[in-house]
Symmetry: C2
Subunit: 138 residues, 2 copies
């Protein structure tokens, strides 16, 4: 799809928890909550270790992310954003991304990851193919 709208970018960068869905080897859904940001039009999250969700993406790149905004949406029901797309995993860069996101999600003074010598880890990069949910984007 073309670039993300300003409204969508604002939600993704708004410090809301992201419910990330990947697909297990048997095709069943797996869900974890992650912090997200943007790198250009890619939605990015940082991971110090090769979690199940990353192994899932390496095998089947189809993912979805959903986020509550905490605001009322159209129809008076809760506003939320759903992004469907495909993801890839790149090596390294996780501590730097997590530190940047921790400032947004926890606070300006926090050190995250908390350990002194974190592994380089991995960055999950999602290309958005469809936007849904309940909002001006839905």
């Amino acid at each position: 799809m073309a670039g993300l709208s300003a409204a969508v970018r604002n939600v993704v960068e708004g410090g809301h928890l992201a419910h990330l869905v990947t697909l297990n080897v048997d095709g069943s859904p797996q869900v974890t909550i992650v912090w997200v940001g943007l790198d250009g039009d890619e939605v990015v999250s940082g991971h110090l270790f090769l979690h199940q969700k990353l192994r899932n993406v390496a095998r089947d790149p189809r993912v979805a992310i959903s986020m509550e905004t905490g605001r009322p949406g159209p129809g008076g029901l809760d506003e939320y954003l759903v992004l469907h797309g495909t993801a890839r995993v790149t090596d390294g860069g996780a501590p730097e991304l997590l530190q940047q996101l921790a400032h947004r999600y926890i606070g300006p003074e926090v050190k995250f990851p908390p350990m002194d010598d974190p592994p380089p880890g991995h960055v999950l990069r999602i290309t958005v193919e469809r936007v849904g949910g309940n909002g001006e984007w839905g």
Copy 2:
């Protein structure tokens, strides 16, 4: 699995938005946000119309639900609950269930569904097979 723990039941009945994942015909994940409650050990949601998520469940019953609790969890990160399981769709009962859930999710005075003569709709019933997330249940 055996019955749900008190901690899990409290979250499911706590008025938190539920991110419901179903599987599309091509196996990709579909996500919508729903209100949920309990009927015995089944997680239930009400739907006036035969939405895509219900058609998905009729074809492939594997679902996941994730909920933020708004509390800090183990490790200082946000607490959340993930339920993986299988779902079935039963006919009727949606207006009554939605009215009951609306009292919990919106307020004691609300009339929901707002229309005077809603269709009987459908109830989605999830049997939980695995509990995860970040919490005393994780």
